[in-house]
């Protein structure tokens, strides 16, 4: 019954921790590293509240063991803003009223960022398909989808001088 020593990279910084082999990455982020922006909604991969990026791909942190983080590169909601500047998605969510209770918001923003990183100009259908693994019970998704569209538009404007 031994804990595991894991070396990893979280939000651009080297990090290490001890975890029990049965602990999920979600538990490690929240309980060991105190990065509580990543939320637990179902603990079986169906709500998306615990979405993090792992080696460039979004995954449900509840379905990853902490031990699997060894050598990985992980991005959480805490790493989305750069310094004091919010990411355009964060701005768009605020301006577009894309959150009500806010508990699904970190998962939506991490997932949406991954979408815009790979597809800067997604259609409404593509946004809806990509985000179908993220449940929101408050908004009916309308303002979330529109805010992703608004962020994409602004990011493209910024990218073209």
């Amino acid at each position: 019954m031994q804990s595991i020593h894991v070396r990893t990279k979280i939000n651009g910084q080297a990090a290490e921790f001890l975890c029990e082999p049965r602990q999920s990455l979600l538990e490690v982020l929240r309980d060991v590293l105190r990065l509580t922006g990543t939320k637990e909604g179902c603990n079986d991969g169906n709500c998306g509240a615990c979405t993090v990026e792992m080696d460039g791909r979004i995954v449900p942190a509840c379905l990853v063991l902490g031990a699997e983080a060894e050598g990985a590169d992980i991005l959480t909601i805490e790493g989305i803003a750069e310094g004091s500047a919010l990411h355009e998605l964060q701005n768009a969510f605020l301006e577009g009223a894309a959150l009500q209770c806010g508990v699904c918001t970190p998962g939506f923003i991490v997932a949406s960022k991954a979408l815009l990183d790979s597809n800067p100009d997604p259609s409404e259908e593509e946004i809806r398909f990509w985000l179908a693994n993220n449940l929101c019970r408050c908004t009916g998704y309308d303002k979330i989808v529109r805010s992703v569209q608004a962020a994409a538009e602004r990011m493209q404007q910024e990218a073209t001088p």
Partner: protein, 291 residues
């Protein structure tokens, strides 16, 4: 979750040795989308988890023209649908891996895991059966191959021995004039378990079906190959009447149960509808016309 030990072998040999040592108490971890959920629910008694994602043989996608595709058992869905060769050669496989779970689940879940989990409703399995895939299985004692349609033996049970590991899936190279498709029915549009599914492949020649294979999901204790449906196509002119006959054969072969996802009667109906629609799409992909 009860206490577990975690191993991450980096060679196939070390992986097989781990299973040789721990046998039934060990489970392979690829995406964990079934394994971790079942362990948390107390449905599995294993106390060892062997993470197979560092074993090269379980993580390759390799296509050799004329021979076919070698798909490592642990390759996650997103790598499969992101692979241009698989997109071109195996659209039916793309159909299924892009509908398993949602985006995040597809970042973890693998076709090999879907197969080993042996759920009757597994979306990846009917297209594998329809495409004539074989499963490469290894243990310290050696290797063997199992046809995809024989891999699942009962709900949650597969053909692997205690010390065996599914290494890869081998899909034959598609012949010209062939087409395949997987369709399933779910109440939502994503994030759901198939109420029924149909994976089909056809080969056309001279305006006729040269051959066809039809496999169904969620209508029997295991994913189900329906030889009668294939037989209903062989030699018949490409058209709606042969497809209707195959769809009727699929419906007749289905042995569904009633549960929270649908009644038996409803599922039988879906077999016919989905088989027909999948065959129409497969014909289109094969370059055929329904006339």
């Amino acid at each position: 979750m009860h206490w577990i030990d975690y191993y991450r072998p980096s060679t196939l040999e070390a992986c097989l040795e781990a299973f040789a040592e721990h046998g039934a108490s060990a489970r392979a971890l690829a995406g964990g989308t079934d394994l971790l959920v079942q362990m948390r629910a107390g449905r599995l008694a294993n106390n060892v988890v062997v993470d197979v994602k560092a074993v090269p043989e379980l993580n390759e996608i390799r296509y050799e023209p004329g021979i076919g595709l070698t798909l490592g058992a642990a390759v996650p869905c997103y790598r499969i649908y992101g692979d241009p060769t698989v997109q071109r050669e195996y659209p039916a496989l793309i159909d299924s891996v892009s509908m398993i779970g949602g985006t995040q689940i597809q970042g973890r879940a693998s076709v090999g895991g879907n197969l080993c989990n042996a759920s009757p409703s597994a979306d990846a399995v009917p297209p594998l059966i329809a495409l004539g895939a074989t499963c490469r299985v290894a243990s310290v004692a050696g290797e063997r191959e199992i046809p995809a349609e024989d891999f699942c033996t009962a709900p949650g049970t597969n053909a692997l021995g205690e010390r065996e590991v599914l290494v890869s899936l081998n899909l034959p190279a598609p012949s010209p004039d062939s087409g395949a498709c997987y369709l399933r029915f779910i109440p939502r549009n994503e994030m759901d378990i198939a109420v029924a599914g149909a994976g089909v492949s056809v080969r056309l020649a001279n305006g006729c079906f040269d051959s066809g294979r039809v496999a169904l999901a969620a209508v029997a204790a295991t994913p189900l190959l329906v030889p009668a449906a294939g037989a209903a196509l062989s030699g018949q002119p490409v058209g709606r009447s042969a497809i209707a006959a195959a769809a009727a054969a699929a419906k007749a072969a289905a042995r569904p149960i009633s549960d929270m996802r649908g009644t038996a009667e409803y599922r039988s109906n879906l077999c016919e509808v989905l088989t027909r629609r999948a065959l129409e799409k497969a014909v289109e992909r094969a370059g055929g016309t329904l006339g």
